[in-house]
Amino acid sequence: MLITELKSKEIIASLVDGKKVFMINCQGCKEVRFPEQESVELRKELAADGKLTGFITTDYICNPENMKLRLQKHMGEIEAADVVLVLSCGVGVQTIAEYLEDKPVYAACDTYPLPGFQGVTPLEYDCDQCGECYLNLTGGICPITACSKSLVNGQCGGCKDGKCEVDSEMECGWERIYRRLAQIGRLDVLKCPTQIRNFATDDEVSK
């Protein structure tokens, strides 16, 4: 079981500041608790500010085939937007970021684990429910699962020929992140403040 919680108002405001936004809500699976009320409020605010180019509320965006089908009808609205704001677990955001490879895709939620059954983690995207989603600082690629050391401040010195020091079959996660950020023109996010993991978040949520 996972919980997704909306990031703080300030963080979301900084993501959409001066931007046209397309919003994707994933309410699909039983394993994830979705912040329904808050998402409706956020959508209304964005619409009132004239920022919203469109939105969909759907399910299982973590399934690429399903997601592509759902997004197809909205491609015009997505084109018109500067950023795509995704309200889902970390897997959903990564699936969309990969598909819309030239668009900044931002996570509006943090994903936490709850004891018990885990959400089904499909295909190649993985989320470790770290509680403090870093996808907005990493071009929509999860540094916790895509980097062997789960580094959150950039590439280590172990990358050789684009591969990770731990596994020569595995592409270095930070190589992918750097490439994606360059592609969406967001290398500036690498200048963000020093990130320090917070391993206490899950306790706070289950309180």
Partner: protein, 292 residues
């Protein structure tokens, strides 16, 4: 003495590294360091290098200091969480060790205890940040230290010949912003690449010591090319090692190559860091031939 004082005086800082043994006897290490490394600016002590369990860096730093040398305490994030890291930093300060080299560290899978839990609670950048906090009298938990806080020269590493050099520069910038005072680089065998790297790195305004490995043999060069990230020995250098087997075996070729790279890169950097890998005795020759 802090290595940063040497940079401030405009000296070309020279460091070399020693690796603690897997055991408790360091007479040999100390003797070698005293004989060959006592004239250089400072001596790095590696921290369970290549994830192989050995005698600790901190203890060997103290032993070197007692012998009158200036140690640089290498500290990685692989084996300790933020509590242990900060505690070891306080221990270092208490022992009078003022120089640090702060690294993420190789993964545990690379070493002789692949079953061990890799920690990486912090990484090189957040570790630099933690040291800076301690220097301001506060720990990462936000608690005040008692009494005068420690003061260090905070070193970090960067890989200038990496095939991901842009990602490396981005990481270097994060280290500078977190508070790194100076840099030592991964081994350089391609001066052109290093010089190009320095053109971009100089904007950060931090002293950089070029990393040097004395190539011992063709086999070693090929091994590094296949296995060591950020290191590439060009083919003509391998041919040079191949040309005269006796000369290479005696270490003369390697010393010549190392000295040549230093001479070529010296105008672009602020010091040299030699990773002698057992050839500590050759360090004085390299420096002499390089004109340092």
């Amino acid at each position: 003495m802090k290595i940063t004082e040497a940079f401030e005086r405009g000296e070309f800082a020279v460091t070399a590294e020693v690796g603690p043994p897997k055991g408790i006897h360091i007479e040999g290490l100390l003797e070698e360091a005293k004989t060959y490394l006592s004239d250089i600016t400072a001596v790095n002590v590696t921290d369970n290098q290549s994830s192989v369990m050995r005698l600790g860096s901190l203890g060997v730093c103290k032993a070197l200091k007692d012998e009158g040398l200036t140690p640089i305490f290498q500290l990685t994030c692989r084996d300790r969480n933020r509590i242990a890291l900060q505690s070891d930093l306080l221990s270092a300060a208490m022992l009078g060790i003022e120089n640090l080299l702060l690294l993420t560290g190789d993964h545990t899978k690379m070493g002789d205890h692949p079953q061990a839990k890799p920690v990486f609670d912090l990484d090189s950048v957040s570790l630099i940040h933690a040291v800076k906090q301690l220097e301001e009298g506060v720990d990462l938990g936000g608690n005040q230290l008692v009494g005068e806080p420690p003061k260090f020269a905070k070193g970090a590493v960067v890989s200038p010949c990496s095939d991901s050099v842009d990602a490396q520069l981005a990481k270097m910038e994060r280290k500078v912003r977190a508070g790194a005072d100076y840099f030592q680089t991964q081994a350089v065998f391609e001066p052109e690449k290093f010089i190009k790297f320095m053109e971009k790195a100089k904007q950060f305004g931090k002293p950089v010591q070029i990393g040097i490995i004395i190539p011992k043999s063709v086999g070693m060069a090929r091994f590094m090319n296949a296995n060591v990230a950020g290191v590439h020995v060009p083919e003509d250098m391998i041919n040079e090692l191949k040309a005269d087997k006796e000369k290479t075996k005696a270490g003369i070729t390697g010393v010549e190559i190392a000295a040549r790279i230093i001479r070529e890169c010296k105008p672009y950097c602020q010091g040299v860091h030699i990773m002698a890998l057992g050839w500590e005795s050759k360090v004085p020759e390299v420096l002499k031939l390089a004109g340092i």
